[in-house]
């Protein structure tokens, strides 16, 4: 059995020597999910072990309508590790009068992407409370990482053409209805797929690559609820070309979320 260079590094427990971006992580937690570690220093330790360059984090408080607290948390994390931590803006969808102020505060702090979660106010993404959020994101061409688990896709689809400057990143893509995720990403230029899923079902990465979506796939771990050490193995050992792994692990996220140019020599 011949292993590519990333597989060899992983089997040796060595950091991956390519550009890696974790596009889906959190700081903070909910009452049902007490954690062992929940500090940005521990994230950096894990990132260093796997060779992850940048981790994109949203504050859990901000996904539960405590966005002002969440913004302080995420700004502090970015300030502590400006080259390693990329923060998502969150907004209190349950309090629509706060949304514009919170997004603008996040933008002023240098944050350039958003995260939304359907459970935050128990409102579907089609609810009018989201309109201001999407309008501002479209105005500023912000990527939005969106928690999905299949059922939300019908609510989301009308938004894709309505807000063409937003890059819609469908979180947990393939958690169910993988065909539907693939169809949406193929149909709309501004839709891409983030892969984290703790159960790590066999074959999802290969499926999306076979559907021609390799340039729209983003690796994410959902740290701190899952571990990045675990989720990275789904892409490293996927039965796909090495060049495709480089795209999924980091290059796509650099282009679509971080909006950073990488030198061609930088794998």
């Amino acid at each position: 059995m011949k292993h590519d260079i990333l597989e060899q590094q992983a089997l040796a427990g060595l950091p991956l020597e390519c550009y890696v971006v974790d596009s889906h992580a959190h700081i903070g937690t909910g009452p049902s999910f007490p954690l062992y570690r929940n500090d940005v220093d521990s994230f950096i330790e894990s990132m260093d072990r796997i060779g992850c360059d940048v981790c994109c984090i949203s504050p859990y408080a901000g996904l539960k309508n405590y966005a002002d607290i969440g913004l302080r948390e995420i700004v502090a994390a970015v300030e502590r590790y400006p080259d390693r931590i990329f923060g998502y803006i969150t907004a209190d969808v349950g309090y629509p009068e706060s949304i514009e102020r919170q997004i603008k505060t996040g933008l002023a702090a240098g944050l350039t992407a958003m995260k939304i979660h359907v459970s935050s106010a128990r409102l579907p993404y089609s609810h009018p409370n989201y309109v201001k959020l999407f309008e501002l994101a479209n105005e500023h061409a912000l990527p939005i990482l969106i928690h999905t688990w299949g059922a939300e896709l019908p609510d989301l689809e009308p938004l894709f053409p309505r807000y063409p400057k937003i890059t819609f990143v469908l979180g947990h893509a393939g958690s169910c209805q993988r065909e539907k995720y693939a169809e949406l990403a193929l149909r709309y230029d501004n839709v891409c797929l983030e892969l984290c899923f703790s159960a790590s079902p066999k074959g999802i990465v290969e499926y999306f690559v076979r559907r021609g979506l390799v340039d729209k796939m983003l690796w994410g771990s959902d740290t701190n609820f899952y571990s990045c050490e675990h989720q990275i193995g789904r892409v490293v050992f996927a039965d796909i070309d090495l060049g495709d792994k480089y795209k999924i692990l980091g290059r796509n996220a650099a282009r679509l979320i971080l909006k950073r140019e990488l030198p061609e020599s930088y794998i």
Binding site: T29, S227, E229
Partner: protein
Amino acid sequence: MTSSKLAVERLFACDALLGRPPALIYENEPTLADMKARFERFPIARALVRGMPGLYTDTSLANATLLENLAGQDAFEGVWMVTPDDAAPQIEAMAAAGMRSVWMKGDTNYIRFPLYPWCCGELFDILQEKRIPLLLSWRMIEPNELHEAMKAFPKMRVIILDGARLGRQVMVEALLKTHPELYFCFSTSFSLHGGYSELCKRYGIHRWVWGCGYPDSEEGASVTGLFYSGIEQEALEAVAHGNIERLLSEVQI
């Protein structure tokens, strides 16, 4: 499997399922050949294997699946499926089949049986005496029943598979503190940030085995989850293979 350097010499997967599922939800049917092919990419040298039909139908089909598929090789060892009643003949059958561990499903044939000693005591008495590990899926048991069972049979060795997906293992930890012969599988179903290293710190390195969720899950995730976990080399070797090898070597049949 060859590679220039490996984080551990070998892995022993403790949570594999083999055999025909009710519907083909996998790319390939979970056969011995498929499992071998998937494990070949990794240093997964050995596995404990349960019969898939046992999840859906009766124990005899689960065990027949193992007898049919695992004969004539040593790397993949079957886990005999049992029910609480008529325990002695079942353990004799297990031993005759060359197996050293058992598993139960709490709702076999939709008639649920609890783990309480009044129901399972006859079986647990034999497992304890012979030091035969009992594999239980966390999804299929009531924690309080397990607690009562291990209170009554404190030397019975129980390995928990399929731990809760999110957050600390609060209930499992409470049981780990109380029952020194309780073991827990690090696998796909439990991959919390910092989880493996913290559990090793809290309870030592000998309470854990490793699994990769075959056939449902990507083996690669469980492999990197362990290899990158940051635990010391001694702990890595213990979790990867040492602990389960020790438990099986201590079976007295």
